[in-house]
Symmetry: C2
Subunit: 289 residues, 2 copies
């Protein structure tokens, strides 16, 4: 496994690989502090690609004022161990100056799929995501890129960008990994106090209740509002939980719907704060017809 | 020379070329109605590249409401003859539906260099340019792309985008070609009446006067306003000329300056309407120190 810090070195190594191999290049862009969720993306990339490239970069552009850019958790040593164990070939760990040597004047913006959920709660966030991911795609030029569905809206944004800008890369969405008790894996879980960590279980529980509600609903007939209320109500049983949003939308369009009759797949997506820590989770479900 | 209409076919042909050759791919994106200015870009590409790709696409995204998208001149047969003569290998002529099968939700925007000149006169124009050029770059994946300096601000926008988004392409700016009497070559010249065509000579003449003024200015000391006034005054000798803008800026930053002491290279850029026809021209000059 090689660790490279500069774009020039990254490009040179990938170019050499391409010159000598006909196999594909798989890419997993991350912000580091890798957990088993990231590891599952790397393993997927390993199983499908000749060369596996991991990037670790906490991108200032996608953090708003007052968000947690400064304190976002970092652990280079552990990250390299996870990468090594997953069979990564190249780890790209650029500095902020390497990525943004001058203030960027170019922004990639995706509309529509960004109007709701985190797009509404975190103005500018997805511009920062789309811009940095397009930069990374131009550096790595991968055949496939692997993203976790815990960030379902991020996946929708990237897929829209790839389609609209004709980026020559296939996006591979991968399932959310969870702790044994159901909490979705996230680098931000480390922020939680013991009490917050315990109460944060309402997130995955509430999504499970939504699933049970749909499974038990023999007619397959319900409104998005019913589902939204059910989930919100359960989250509110945790005294420390402050709901940012709970939304039930059609998937993958991320558009509102009234009645289950009008859709085939839905997403229940939520963002909840525990103290200073904002967690997100979601469940994507087929609607019985 | 091969003419292809679909992105899939374009990609397939370039991929085959890349697989069998180590030479570079040169790309000239145009809106067609090719004149000697375009031909000079194609010849430059031919002299530097193993494979020369020309695209012809009148991009609706870069035309504002009330602009000349509908009546923009087209002549496929003549374009193919110009391309053939210049030694083009692949002509890519997509339909609007091929380029935008669904309404695009992704926009590439460049700030700062777009605040003045055509960026101010034509809101949204450079978003349309940056977005379509990034799409074309993703399709062709050229080593070099050739652009004419008559559209100096467009070159600045593309160079900024390439730098900020780390696009793996080298931008090659090429000098403006002129008719014998000095008029900058443009597909839009065909719109001009005989009288307008005659009066349009004030554009290149006024730029020549600016050059003479600087050449004769032994101290090398002048203000941008002096130069701006000189140019505007000459343009106004043409009764049919309606000035959109005449600006004197530092180059390539396209920022205003007061005094020649503070800069090394300047651009005199102008946009002038004759009836419905809007023409642009510019001159880039070193300042004596």
């Amino acid at each position: 496994m090689e660790v490279v810090q500069t774009i020039a070195e990254l490009r040179a190594r990938i170019k050499t690989y391409r010159r000598n191999n006909d196999q594909t290049v798989g890419f997993v862009p991350t912000m580091g502090f890798l957990h088993d969720g990231h590891a599952s993306l790397l393993q997927k990339a390993r199983s499908q690609s000749g060369l596996v490239v991991l990037s670790i970069f906490v991108n200032p552009l996608q953090f708003g004022p007052g968000e947690d850019f400064e304190r976002y958790p970092r652990n280079e040593e552990q990250d390299l161990a996870v990468a090594e164990a997953a069979g990564v070939d190249i780890v790209f760990m650029p500095s902020v100056d390497e990525m943004y040597p001058t203030p960027t004047r170019t922004t990639v913006s995706v509309s529509e799929v960004t109007t709701r959920l985190c797009g509404a709660s975190r103005p500018g966030h997805f511009d920062g995501v789309a811009t940095v991911v397009s930069k990374l795609f131009h550096m790595v030029q991968p055949d496939q890129a692997f993203f976790g569905l815990k960030d379902a809206q991020q996946v929708a944004v990237i897929e829209q960008m790839v389609q609209d800008l004709n980026l020559p890369v296939e996006i591979v969405p991968c399932p959310t990994l969870r702790e044994k008790d159901g909490l979705a894996m996230s680098s931000r879980n480390v922020y939680l106090s013991v009490e917050e960590r315990q109460q944060a279980l309402v997130l995955s529980q509430s999504l499970q209740q939504a699933k049970t509600f749909i499974d038990n609903n023999v007619s397959g007939s319900f409104t998005s509002e019913e589902l939204q209320r059910l989930v919100s109500k359960h989250i509110q049983t945790a005294p420390l939980a402050v709901i940012d949003y709970v939304e039930v939308l059609s998937y993958p369009t991320l558009e509102p719907f009234e009645h289950s009759h009008s859709i085939t797949t839905l997403i229940v997506a939520l963002a909840v704060k525990f103290g200073k820590t904002r967690l997100i989770d979601n469940l994507i479900l087929q609607v019985r017809k």
